[in-house]
Point group: C2
Chain length 510, copies 2
Amino acid sequence: MTRSRQRTRRTHDRRAQPIPQLPWGQPRLRTPFVEILSEDEIASIHQTSLKILEEIGIVFNDDEAVEVFKNGGALVGDDGNVRIGRELVAEALRTAPGSFTLTPRDPEKVVEIGADALAFTTVLGPPYCSDIERGRRVGTLADFADFVRLGQYFNIIHMIAGSPVEPGDIEVDIRHIESTRTMLKLSDKVPYLFAQSRQRLWDGMELVARSLGYESREQLAERPRLYSIINTNSPLQYDGPMASGTIELARHNQLPVISPFSLAGATMPLPITGAVAMSNAEALAGIVLAQLVRPGAPVVTAAKTVNVDMKTGAPAFATPESNKAVQIGAQLARHNGLPFRAANFNNSNTVDAQCLYEAQGSLWAAVTSGTNLVMHAAGWLEGGLCSSFEKFILDVEILQMMKVWLDPVPVNDEVLSIDEIKFVGPGGHFFGTERTIAGYESAFYNPLITNTLNYKAWEAAGSRDATVRAHQIYKRAVDEYEAPKMPEAIARAVDQFADERIAVGGAPIT
Amino acid sequence: MTRSRQRTRRTHDRRAQPIPQLPWGQPRLRTPFVEILSEDEIASIHQTSLKILEEIGIVFNDDEAVEVFKNGGALVGDDGNVRIGRELVAEALRTAPGSFTLTPRDPEKVVEIGADALAFTTVLGPPYCSDIERGRRVGTLADFADFVRLGQYFNIIHMIAGSPVEPGDIEVDIRHIESTRTMLKLSDKVPYLFAQSRQRLWDGMELVARSLGYESREQLAERPRLYSIINTNSPLQYDGPMASGTIELARHNQLPVISPFSLAGATMPLPITGAVAMSNAEALAGIVLAQLVRPGAPVVTAAKTVNVDMKTGAPAFATPESNKAVQIGAQLARHNGLPFRAANFNNSNTVDAQCLYEAQGSLWAAVTSGTNLVMHAAGWLEGGLCSSFEKFILDVEILQMMKVWLDPVPVNDEVLSIDEIKFVGPGGHFFGTERTIAGYESAFYNPLITNTLNYKAWEAAGSRDATVRAHQIYKRAVDEYEAPKMPEAIARAVDQFADERIAVGGAPIT
């Protein structure tokens, strides 16, 4: 047999048994949610947020933002401090949609945000990446591409968060262009753009527009297509790129996920109730801005309140307190009729037991509190400083398990099985019943990583722990990955815009 | 300085900074619980259970149990098959308490079971144990003792599940005596006895009675003091030791935790709804038996339905389906006014990422569904075949985190912090505020294992993963452990009974 034939057969064999995974689809949240506070207590937190906006105000370091607020009826000081009255907030909450869709290049992969829908994104933003074969290193565009491939490959990932790792080998001024081009060619799921400056955001929007067959970014406004994180600069500040980003996203009818990144005891008050009140105030300011620019524009709120580890000054993610903040934040978001975001967090420096108890704890806190959008759902490590290929796969497993857990359970005479129980009777077994034989292949979640081998069999198979198994699945998924179809004319339009912008040197951050 | 002085100082230093842990106390469950089914659907599952008991019946392989049922009004066949009418079930549910307390030797460590109380036990029953220094091995009485020490040491463990590992070096006929004696001397928390035969259970009860200053097991009936797991032999059978155990526990006013161990697709029907209906029927049969023996006796129900991994035939714990079964089971238990048990499960053969995502997932499913008693809360590995010292410590961490997450959050002007936010203002920081300085040491959970060091600092400190750190805490805890006080007369009485029973050869299993 020739070598090429061997290869063909191997490829064929592999395709015959692809990696088991769930079909495309969003989980639906299960109610009632676990709620930490009474409706009165939630209302009093919201009242505190309103007071903060009215009496203290918030600084927007962007002239246009200040102008928008002034025209909208806010009290604007000389220093860019904006005091926002409660009637402005109420009006913004009236126009902001409780749910909406994001439609990517493949319209089959439309994502609903809000109501009972739940969506998961890849990790976003770490400068480092790691896998157990090559170790920890500064990310490159090749790594970026592999993470996008994984995000495209696994159906449980609904949205790409580009950069899933920063491509550190690409010069900063053109990095946004190269990375957006790569993301758009390798994935047809909902794309992400950074709000690093007006020009960089516009560049990204032009690329997304061209990938959709539009001629320019203005046409994006037809419907929500992409999303971006807006972080506040706590306490009570929006820096220039974030303020202008909020405006540009709203103007184009695209989604700002407004995520105050608050450190209780550092950038926010120590008691989480105070921190959430302030975080809510900061988020509401951005939501007002977006709604003033374009009433009805999509927005998502958050309450990403993490501790400061008082021993090291480092942020401590996935703590009991940050999980409580998620619960309170989700309740507040429901109180205000807004979709809510949380994240799959951990602090660990390696893919170990800590890494996964923190991830799973964050995920459960998010889902049982009614979170709509879980950022960093797959691949996050080291408190966000490193993207791990193995962690990505382990996260896919816990996300899939979560989706199956959320799937409805039918109750009817058929599944209640009394005839079958009668037939088997005391002391019998159900291995051979008609229903077991007919249903066993689909009855239970088919795991990706989880191993139920007994110890001896596991040892004989090489004593591979979950991280080693995840590494193998990561390699296989990148290998099995197929790029989504993109018409040549579209690809040319994307490349043409990208190449032109690169030729003129791209655009600096800020 | 002499060596002995050095040692003294080291001991002193260590005592000055004991392992950080939460004070003794039970978490309180947070409502509303996440509920998977409607009240009507729950009622129809319960109705199916009633039909199973009325129309199919359940086999009790114990003459006294059959006699008790016959006298109680059940329809008893020649083969030990007992058909239980719904009025008998209703009467048992009327007399079974919705909550009660278990009072151990140290009355300060009384545990509430039921209502909004949550209690955690050590792992129970594995034949093997492991730590990363000594590897995986058959458990010994020395290992058993170390697990009891850990269970006693950590306040988040409310009840000892003896055997936390089977002491394989002790001859079977006297193992129950040696292990119970060891448990009682090393811990004053709520003790556990196996229901392996009437005589062995009596032996254990006599030992517990003597540890409490009673002269014989009859005096235990004064109040609930100890607990035992009653597993059914599914489908629809109670073997002799479990039937007699239920009777003896109820007779002595002690707690049987009635836990059908059901494998959906093997010992129970494939659809989890059917499996839970049957599991509920089996549990109700034991509860009826207990209530017939002693109306008002404490009982706990369960719905420990796990999958069969259809590829290997092995049970698959902590799956999405078994987490759903826990949710349905807890709803059913509330419907019936009974305390509910679940467990902290995993399948992993090593303390890796899988081990902890399974553990954390099981724990969250249990707690958000309203579980009152989490068995195997610390130390379980390999689907219950191995007790791990490192896993024990990691579990203590996730249990402590869960307790802190469940702690109430105050909402008032003080914590809402508006004056402090005003004082700090936009662009300031909260590091130096009065409240931060006063509160930072107690504001956040102080972790046992969780590490927030940055990568370089973590690397410089030896790149120890969570399992390695857990090993170090386990060794330190065993070292810091102090045995609870036991009056000499009590110890003599315990020893005298144990030695006498050992001298006559103990008692065989069955």
